[in-house]
């Protein structure tokens, strides 16, 4: 019951929290900014519209948004929000989730290539390159958590009394991991400094250019999927930050939402005070996270 409720709240919150990023950015720019629920309004608006399809496209173009959204939803099914046991959990579920997200990316990229647009091809090439590097970073995190005794499932890491958290016995190592996961969050979800979701020039985009030709409910599915993926990444960071409170489920849930808001706000701050990296620097940026976690693993070799 708690699990389904947590998942329901998460799905409701997924399009709300990006509003926090926009609010923070507006604050830095001295503007009022759009309303907090702007992403929900956009989704509803898109769902009411029809679509225009390019003559070049076929069924792969329509498959992309569906698979992208479905895989993002699958990832959330396995996540133990605020330490509640997730709907589903088994040993190795994290590998299934990461590969399912890979399938989502595979289909999104193919949908972009289906349009025959050189810009979308360019974006797709960048997306698969950076994603393959980010994947290494995530798997090193898996290795570290496995060595810290968390097993190989999301619930094993973040639920129960043995949850991996900053307040635990190996918390110092997790500082490195939190930074690394935050860098990966920025890279995987096309945020500044890797990609700029608000840029106006197609040549410089990565993710946004791949979905230029999608419209209406298809675009809504893509956007909702993207919100869910961002929530998944943010939850990874927020779970590590959780304090070891022996409180009731309500307090736990509220604290977790507070931490999520903090993560999203940090994304907003980062976007406000940093400029975008030049394309050839992005691999170095992503591999920094790999190096950080790798260093943490070397430290565990002493501890264990």
């Amino acid at each position: 019951m708690e699990s389904s409720l947590a998942l329901g709240i998460a799905l409701l919150l997924a399009p709300v929290l990006p509003g926090v990023i926009l609010k923070v950015k507006a604050l830095f720019a001295g503007k009022t900014g759009p309303p907090l629920l702007i992403r929900w309004y956009t989704l509803i608006k898109l769902l009411r519209k029809g679509s225009v399809y390019s003559d070049s496209t076929g069924f792969v173009f329509r498959l992309g948004p569906v698979v992208g959204c479905a895989t993002a939803l699958l990832a959330l099914l396995f996540f133990p929000f605020a330490g509640f046991s997730p709907l589903l959990s088994f040993t190795g579920d994290i590998i299934v989730v990461l590969y399912a997200l890979g399938l989502g990316r595979f289909c999104t990229v193919l949908a972009a290539l289906d349009t025959a647009s050189p810009f979308e091809g360019m974006g797709a090439a960048r997306e698969v390159f950076f994603a393959s590097l980010a994947e290494i970073g995530l798997f090193v995190v898996l290795i570290l958590f496995h060595r810290m005794g968390g097993g190989l499932s999301l619930a094993g890491w973040f639920a129960g009394p043995q949850a991996i958290s900053l307040a635990g016995p190996q918390g110092a190592l997790l500082l490195l991991v939190i930074v690394a996961l935050f860098l990966l969050l920025l890279a995987e979800n096309s945020r500044v400094p890797v990609d700029d979701p608000a840029t106006h020039l197609e040549l410089t985009m990565i993710h946004e250019v791949m979905i230029l030709d999608h419209s209406g409910p298809d675009l809504a599915l893509i956007e909702f999927g993207a919100h869910c993926r961002l929530l998944f990444s943010a939850c990874l960071v927020a779970s590590l930050l959780r304090p070891p409170l022996a409180a009731g489920p309500l307090t736990n849930g509220l604290v977790f939402i507070g931490l999520l808001v903090l993560v999203y706000a940090t994304v907003g701050v980062t976007e406000s005070i940093t400029a975008r990296l030049r394309m050839h620097l992005v691999p170095k940026f992503i591999l920094t996270s790999f190096a950080l976690v790798f260093f943490a693993i070397i430290l565990t070799m002493e501890l264990v």
């Binding site: 679509s51 299934v96 050189p118 190989l152």
Partner: protein, 651 residues
């Protein structure tokens, strides 16, 4: 056992009959198809006996009075026979419409005979129960496959590929024979059984000699050079047989010798793991850099051999450190990947063959938009691409998951082994990401977007037997992905006869097969659910059509699409010390520029190294010694006599 021999005989009959009736072209092809299918199905029935009861079936004859020929069938053999018997009939089915030139009836019949011979030879390699039998079967396999590569022998490129292949395969065979010679010298018997009792030093020599020999067949880096030349040169169903099934015989050899030696020294798994990482990563990077569809697939086979080696290495490491669970996961993952790769690589080569058949070109950058004109080929190729990239809910994911799991088991080890397991996981993740990139490139350039040339625009779907073959293989990939339990039970029945894992059953995996099935089905269910929701959302909506958004440019042409070369460029350059990107361009100089040329090639560092380091010096020495070769027979005989005399006096 007798049933299995009957099966092999049927396959051979299916090869000989077309020669006799080659004047009736269709009848010849039909008889070949019937013979191979009947033989393979009989063989699969015969394998049932092995799955059911744990015993080794053996038959033997004495040949010429001194050569004992022994065939023995245990569960490991059965496991490697499975891909041979499953894939061969599908390929024969494909060939029915693929080889469609009645003018070349004789050649088609000869190719059918070689196909049957190759299938039988591969079966004999796995069945061989002593060193003589093995060597004969191995040579038969090499020669049959060499003849198949030379199908288009009029083309100079094909002859060159054939020669390269012949050199590699014979050098490899020599190394294997040298290892067998060492064993014979130490034990005085041609049987395999004596290997376990060899002294440690000889064991290592035997292992590394056979590793080099079998590695050159399997396409392990840096002995892979023949593979990207020979596989594309053959007709596509032959490429599928070579790439999907035959190179696994190299893996079988390594695995069998390892089991026979029974030596748990950590050096073996460590070597295998390092070779696996190198083959896996560099294989996929080179695949990314290639623009020739079949050559790209050949490099991708090297990548998959790398993945299989990672699994084998983890399994061996598990035995070395006494972790049975890790060993079981590693071996099971590797052996399942052998089967999986046979299925999806055959599928992809058949798809490439269909594209070649329909358009006449293998160059990615001259294709495009084929999904509209070739719907079955396109959809099956798409499924095969997702499978080879290891994505759920298809079969590639199941085997990669098991290998990951084995590697995670190894993280509790210490020292160098820990680092090896760690890098294995990182390599697998990198290989997975790059394979995704590589196959989005292939599907995107060949099947999506707009046709780049007139050939691509005029393509039509291929014949029904070719389509049926591709659909069958796609279904196999999907079934293993969604119902992994029966296949895993089969794989574990195969591990049963391995001494270090004796008595292991699929229960060792615990709930993992069920969980994998759950994950795959859940994913499929969610996709279907969202697709249903999407359909509801679009009910009664206005659907418009228009051109692709060209960012304001009003006269786009299909030549402006992103090319495979530009798609892969930054990824390939990232791995630069190991791959060479050579770009040749004429700069634009004048105000009204003349037509310009820009060419970019990705070169294989191992191939260049081998040419510079070995071939050129050998040729130089050979040129110096040219005076020995003068064409006078009597002096040649004198050389031989002299050699024998010297040998008799010294040895």
């Amino acid at each position: 056992m007798h049933l299995l021999l009957l099966a092999l005989a049927l396959i051979l009959v299916g090869g000989v009959l077309p020669l006799i009736v080659h004047r009736w072209f269709r009848l010849a092809k039909l008889l070949h198809l019937i013979g191979v299918t009947a033989g393979c199905l009989t063989g699969l029935v015969a394998l049932q006996a092995v799955w059911r009861q744990p015993e080794t079936l053996t038959t033997g004859w004495s040949w010429l009075g001194f050569c004992p020929l022994v065939l023995s069938l245990d569960s490991v053999t059965a496991l490697f026979l499975l891909p041979v018997l499953l894939v061969a009939p599908v390929l024969a089915l494909y060939a029915y419409h693929y080889l469609d030139k009645p003018a070349a009836a004789w050649r088609t019949a000869v190719s059918a005979l070689c196909f049957s011979l190759l299938v039988v030879a591969m079966a004999l390699v796995t069945l061989a129960g002593n060193m003589v039998t093995f060597a004969i079967a191995w040579e038969l396999m090499s020669i049959a496959s060499w003849c198949l590569v030379l199908y288009d022998f009029e083309r100079a490129e094909t002859r060159r590929a054939g020669t390269t292949y012949f050199l590699f395969t014979q050098t490899g065979a020599l190394l294997i024979l040298a290892a067998f010679g060492l064993v014979y010298q130490a034990t005085g018997s041609l049987a395999f059984d004596g290997m376990a009792a060899l002294p440690a030093g000889i064991k290592s020599m035997v292992f590394f000699l056979t590793l080099a020999g079998f590695g050159s067949k399997a396409g392990i880096l840096p002995l892979h050079i023949w593979l990207p030349h020979a596989h594309p040169a053959a007709p596509s169903h032959i490429s599928a047989l070579l790439s999907g099934v035959m190179i696994k015989m190299g893996i079988y050899g390594i695995f069998r010798i390892y089991l026979l030696l029974g030596d748990p020294t950590p050096l073996f798994p460590q070597t295998i793991l390092l070779l696996g990482m190198a083959s896996g990563i560099l294989g996929v990077v080179h695949a990314l850099g290639k623009h020739d569809l079949k050559r790209l697939l050949a490099y991708s086979s090297i990548e998959n051999i790398g993945i299989i080696l990672l699994g084998l290495g983890l399994g061996m490491l598990g035995i070395t450190v006494g972790n049975r669970l890790m060993a079981a996961f590693g071996f099971a993952g590797a052996l399942l990947h052998v089967l999986n790769h046979a299925l999806f690589k055959s599928l992809l080569f058949l798809g490439a063959g269909a594209v070649l058949h329909a358009t006449g070109t293998r160059q990615l950058d001259q294709l495009g938009g084929l999904l509209r004109t070739m719907p079955v080929t396109g959809r099956t190729f798409l499924a095969g691409s997702a499978a080879i990239a290891g994505l759920p809910p298809l079969n590639g994911f199941v085997s990669e998951f098991l290998i990951y799991y084995a590697a995670f088991q190894g993280l509790s080890l210490g020292g160098g082994n820990l680092l090896l397991c760690l890098f294995t996981i990182v390599s697998l993740a990198l290989i997975g990401g790059l394979a995704s990139a590589c196959f989005t490139k292939v599907v995107g350039m060949v099947f999506l977007g707009e046709p780049r040339t007139e050939h691509a625009r005029q393509a039509t779907e291929v014949g029904p037997s070719m389509r049926a073959a591709m659909v069958l293989l796609t279904l196999a990939c999907l079934v293993i992905g969604l119902w992994p339990e029966p296949v895993l039970r089969l794989i574990f029945a195969g591990l049963r006869d391995m001494a270090p894992l004796a008595g292991i059953t699929v229960d060792a995996l615990g709930p993992i097969p069920a969980n994998l099935a759950l994950g795959a089905r859940l994913l499929l269910a969610l996709v279907l659910l969202v697709a249903l929701g999407r359909r509801l959302l679009y009910r009664g909506k206005v659907i418009g059509r228009g051109p692709t958004w060209g960012c304001g440019y009003s006269r786009p042409t299909s030549r402006m699409q992103y090319t495979g070369a530009s798609y892969a460029r930054s990824m390939v350059e990232f791995h630069r010390p190991f791959v060479r990107v050579r770009t040749e361009a004429e700069p634009l100089t004048r105000i009204f520029p003349a037509p310009a040329v820009w060419e970019s090639r990705v070169e294989d560092a191992a191939e260049i190294g081998l040419t510079r380091g070995l071939v050129e010096p050998v040729l130089r020495i050979a040129a110096r010694l040219h005076w020995i070769q003068h064409g006078r027979i009597q002096l040649y005989i004198a050389y031989i006599v002299l050699t024998i005399v010297v040998l008799l006096l010294t040895v």
